[in-house]
Symmetry: C2
């Protein structure tokens, strides 16, 4: 079988092959495929036809080599299936594609040697026009010596580097809103179950909580610490059950909130009658656990889109000054895990009460 106009050698067709078939120069093929101006309608049509016939596609390596640009963005993200990071990544991919950029992803696992710096290095080797670091954890001062713009989402100024920018994700305001919701219900104070403080995301939420209390002149109670998991929330919840002053808890994510609720329920306390619990994220099951969880929803898509816009602008016009920070909207979702505090004293937790022998452990 003879392949009309195909390439003799068998490999993928190149620009010259298309050019030959269309009866133009290779440069013209390049022009058409890059949508440059000053190409006659007739030529454009012939080139596209020829390209289609041959199944031609631009070779991105050659293009990158010649132009010095890859049209791709590198993303450094935590290697976890946690709802927040995963949702943000999806938003970023979408926004990147809409902006005409491909995505190269490197995960840093917690406790990775090298961490962010290593991941950035690896992206640089792959060749990217810009880098987005998504909600990293604190590894101490990291100095990035990089010649492409870097945007760090959700980590205030902990990364040095000439073309490094940072943008918050609005978590502090959300945390403040969550805390205020509980105070508005009449709770005298709000306890906070924080995430691991190596995560900037966890610190933001802690700051928001602390700020809300401070604004009303309330001294913050001792911070409780978890690791984002429902298991850690459960452990803290058991302590809380014994703690008679506590009538309201703000957990730094929904998983921990669910663990807290579980522990309180097992201890014979009622949520929200005895203790109110607020989560953070609005994970898909939050509305369907018992009781349905009051929480705040993170605007992942908006944050991703804004971040990407910023990065792309820095890539395409290095001189332009940065647009002002964008404040994503605050979205408090009130369900059934919050209520006014109990009248009079909160009941003590019945010692070791456990409904129907259920066990939480897996």
């Amino acid at each position: 079988m003879t392949r009309v106009g195909g390439r003799a050698g068998g490999g993928a067709p190149r620009g010259v092959d298309v050019a030959r078939l269309a009866g133009v120069s290779q440069k013209t093929v390049s022009r058409v495929l890059n949508g440059e101006r000053y190409v006659s309608e007739d030529v454009r049509r012939r080139v596209l036809e020829a390209a289609g016939e041959l199944g031609y596609r631009l070779n991105s390596a050659a293009r990158a080599l010649a132009s010095g640009r890859t049209r791709s963005i590198g993303v450094v993200t935590l290697g976890t299936a946690l709802y927040g990071p995963a949702s943000l990544l999806i938003g970023i991919e979408r926004a990147a594609r809409d902006a005409g950029y491909a995505l190269r992803v490197v995960n840093t696992l917690e406790g990775d040697p090298g961490g962010v710096a290593g991941a950035v290095e690896s992206l640089l080797e792959q060749g990217v026009d810009g880098i987005l670091v998504s909600e990293p954890i604190d590894e101490g001062p990291v100095s990035l010596s990089v010649d492409v713009p870097v945007l760090v989402l959700g980590a205030p100024a902990a990364f040095g580097g000439a073309r490094t920018m940072t943008r918050g994700v609005g978590a502090e305001r959300l945390a403040r809103t969550a805390t205020e919701h509980l105070l508005d219900l009449g709770h005298a104070t709000v306890h906070h179950l924080a995430g691991p403080q190596r995560w900037f995301a966890a610190r933001d939420r802690l700051e928001g909580w602390r700020g809300a209390l401070a604004a009303r002149g309330i001294a913050p109670p001792a911070v409780l610490h978890g690791d984002w998991s429902a298991a850690s929330g459960y452990a803290v919840g058991r302590e809380l059950a014994a703690h008679r002053d506590c009538t309201a808890v703000f957990a730094a994510n929904d998983d921990m909130a669910i663990g807290v609720v579980r522990a309180l329920t097992e201890a014979g306390l009622r949520v929200p009658d005895d203790i109110s619990v607020v989560g953070f994220d609005d994970i898909p099951v939050a509305a369907y656990v018992t009781p349905p969880l009051t929480t705040v929803r993170q605007p992942f898509d908006a944050v991703a889109r804004e971040g990407l816009r910023l990065l792309v602008r820095a890539i395409e016009d290095p001189e332009a000054d940065l647009p002002p920070a964008y404040d994503p909207p605050v979205d408090l979702v009130v369900r059934a895990s919050t209520a006014p505090p109990p009248r009079g004293a909160r009941p003590p937790a019945p010692p070791l009460a456990r409904p129907r022998g259920d066990t939480a452990a897996g």
Copy 2:
């Protein structure tokens, strides 16, 4: 300030710059940095030293252009934060990095025009050595005309293409195990809340369920349908509450199972005393909802690692024949949402009973 040995023009250092500084040819630099044999220890040391001093890194575009290989793999995945797909993606990234490949990710959103074919096309344009399609949905027959190997994970033979391979993810066996668990407890039959049948993942689970029933000569009851969300599980759960024959439900994922439990509980039924519920995935909160959910755990890491091994082998040795399919282990996690069926007849759901005015809707 004079930069010793640096490049005159200011851009990133190139191989020749390193060569000059080390007093060798550019080719030798290439040899050293690619770990080729037949380089004297002395030369190797000098080259590495020079490279370090200049902050040199290989230009991957140039390398790809010259060698015809990119050392990167493309991944097509669904743009959802669902636990399964997200976990699989993380496993794939890890495995790819361990194998020395970079990752380029394209998401297909449900109902995307083009869908998988478009995503593959976009990866081909970016230049990848192989493509991994992760748990796609059925878009009708897709014919991929591609010159790199393609591995489709979890979609039996629905993608045509010369170098296209498929591998299951073991979901059918897991579903069978989940169903058998309920039958072993003494339930006369098991209802199935299936995922959207456009997802191959959902079909596998349905097949496993049907197979388990068939093996015991039980005619499968009508299949219930959800969309993976807790909301859809909740809706189905309300119907089920009215359905007195039903004492056991196997939901195709944990989110839906949680929705079902919520609806049953609201209807005044007890889980597991009146109805048992089994989920699928073992999401992180599964152990901490009320009651803790019995479920089966998907071995994402093992599946990702095996899949990647297969793909890399197909890339690096196109002649080699494929290793036999790998059967990931089955991991049933029994918690507190399953029990033997109630003695005598299941109680009817009290009409419109709702505990304490909780509402599930967000």
